[in-house]
């Protein structure tokens, strides 16, 4: 049985697409057959982050409308054997998705894949609802600031009331907190909420903490999911995150201000 994981947040620009790409890639690296679906109809940037934008011929909406089949629309990753991307359409409007259509595609994908990662658009409108409706698990991406936390709380409310699992009285969606763009220095200065603050407010299990990192920007500019940059802090933090998602017990890193080494202190860091 395929596991459907939605990467969601309410707020835009917090790192959903970055995280979808990293987590999907990380799971596929472990040998699971994985597909990442871009639900952000009209914006389309998962394919950019995955570096496959030039290979998009058909998209999610084409498949729903029966204009193409899944085989034609799925893009096979060139780096990882078991990884596929189902891109969003850039030209359609965001109401092009229907619940029945999405369900049909997910069912079809579930026959072949182990993991289906749904990259949600921002907001709490139909597109975001569609992305979370069929989920078994949710990665709630949150930045350590008040408005992002508030929006995540809102999405958690939706997960527990507006999802298929909620409507059918099934066991609830498993919720994970992924704190991204974490900057320990700013936390110490009181400019950002701490891991503890956010954890206490949202009261769900912490899946990972991704530091604010130049590596993320470099990665997205070069069309490489950052998890492939395994020397970087963000890459390692995503590797830890994937391990926890697969049930492993991994200690948290990058939570505290790094003590600058002697050389760095002399030459500036």
């Amino acid at each position: 049985m395929a596991k459907i994981i939605v990467v969601t947040s309410g707020k835009g620009g917090v790192g959903k697409t970055t995280s979808s790409a990293a987590i999907g890639t990380g799971i596929a690296m472990r040998g699971f057959k994985t597909v990442i679906i871009d639900f952000d109809i009209g914006l389309r940037n998962l394919d950019l982050i995955m570096g496959c934008e030039r290979r998009v011929v058909y998209d999610f909406v084409n498949v729903i409308n029966g204009e193409a089949n899944l085989k034609q629309a799925l893009i096979k990753d060139k780096r990882i054997e078991t990884l596929f991307i189902l891109p969003a359409s850039q030209t359609r409007d965001k109401d092009a998705l229907s619940k029945e259509g999405v369900e049909r595609i997910l069912n079809e994908l579930a026959e072949e894949f182990d993991y289906i990662i749904c990259d949600s658009p921002a907001g709490i409108e139909s597109g975001a609802m569609m992305a979370l409706y069929f989920a078994d698990e949710a990665v709630v991406v949150t930045n350590p600031e008040v408005s992002s936390v508030r929006d995540s709380d809102r999405i958690l409310g939706m997960l527990s009331s507006k999802s298929r699992r909620a409507e059918q009285g099934l066991p609830g969606i498993k919720e994970h907190l992924l704190l991204t763009r974490y900057n320990p220095e700013r936390v110490v200065k009181g400019e950002m909420l701490s891991v503890e603050d956010v954890g206490e407010i949202l009261a769900i299990k912490l899946l990972g903490v991704i530091p604010e990192s130049q590596a993320v920007l470099n990665a997205s500019n070069s069309g490489q999911p950052v998890i492939l940059d395994q020397d970087s802090d963000a890459g390692q933090a995503y590797l830890d995150t994937v391990a926890r998602l697969l049930g492993e017990d991994v200690p948290f890193r990058f939570l505290n201000v790094e003590k600058k080494g002697l050389l760095k202190r002399i030459f500036g860091g």
Binding site: I124, R150, D153, R154, L156, G157, M158, S160, A203
Partner: protein, 233 residues
């Protein structure tokens, strides 16, 4: 052989009863509109029974039913009706409910009433228990009941009860107790960080709550129209 797919059973439900001397459609409308303005969410599609015991003129039930419809209320029937009024109510498609004798010292009606077990408009104070966190944007309303939240009420969330409210987690959102007007109701919470607390229509914003009890457990009630915070224990 019994057929469980079709059963008719007696049950008790809390219903709002409207007492209004002047039952002209216009008067009913103004009165209802005023009530609704105070708390639109509470009365939205609420079932209502009209007490017609003390009406002086013969009401036009059809017109009244129309007013209820316009205001998105559900007129269920009448109570305390004379035999004549009962017939008229019936003609307008309304039920005739029997007043529970203990609650209302109504004058004995002359005709013999048939005793039924069914639907008596009795106010039952119950407790609604919610076993989860209430998230931003969510609203919980315990109508005619106390409300217990075994979780946290997030900022931007709202919990409302006609009775008392007990929150075992942190109260960061809004809590509205005694929503039907009872000023004896209170809010109890494990950790007070509320945006707003209201009791029987009086309310306080977070600014006026940020004293000794902020971030601690507390019990909040009204005394002579003044907000009183006290230790939970």
């Amino acid at each position: 052989m019994s057929d469980h797919s079709f059963e008719l059973k007696g049950s008790l439900f809390p219903l709002s009863v409207l007492y209004c001397q002047d039952l002209s459609a216009a008067a009913v409308k103004t009165q209802l509109q005023q009530k609704l303005a105070q708390a639109p969410a509470f009365f939205y599609r609420a079932p209502v029974v009209i007490n017609v015991e003390s009406v002086t003129q013969v009401p036009d039930f059809e017109a009244i039913a129309q007013v209820f419809k316009e205001l998105e209320l559900v007129l269920v029937g009448v109570c305390g009706a004379s035999a004549e009024l009962k017939k008229m109510a019936q003609a307008a498609g309304l039920a005739s409910l029997q007043l529970s004798k203990s609650k209302t010292p109504a004058k004995e009606s002359k005709e013999k009433e048939v005793k039924t077990e069914a639907a008596v408009a009795a106010p039952v104070m119950e407790t609604k228990v919610v076993e989860q966190n209430i998230r931003s944007g969510q609203q919980i309303y315990a109508k005619g009941a106390d409300l217990v939240i075994r979780g946290t009420v997030g900022a931007g969330a709202e919990v409302i009860a006609d009775g008392n409210i007990h929150i075992y987690g942190t109260l960061r959102g809004k809590a509205i107790a005694g929503a039907a007007g009872d000023n004896q109701k209170r809010v109890f919470c494990h950790k007070l960080e509320a945006e707003l607390i209201s009791i029987a229509g009086s309310y306080w914003l977070s600014d006026s709550l940020q004293g000794e009890y902020w971030g601690k457990s507390a019990c909040i009630g009204l005394q002579d129209d003044k907000l009183v915070l006290a230790d939970l224990l």
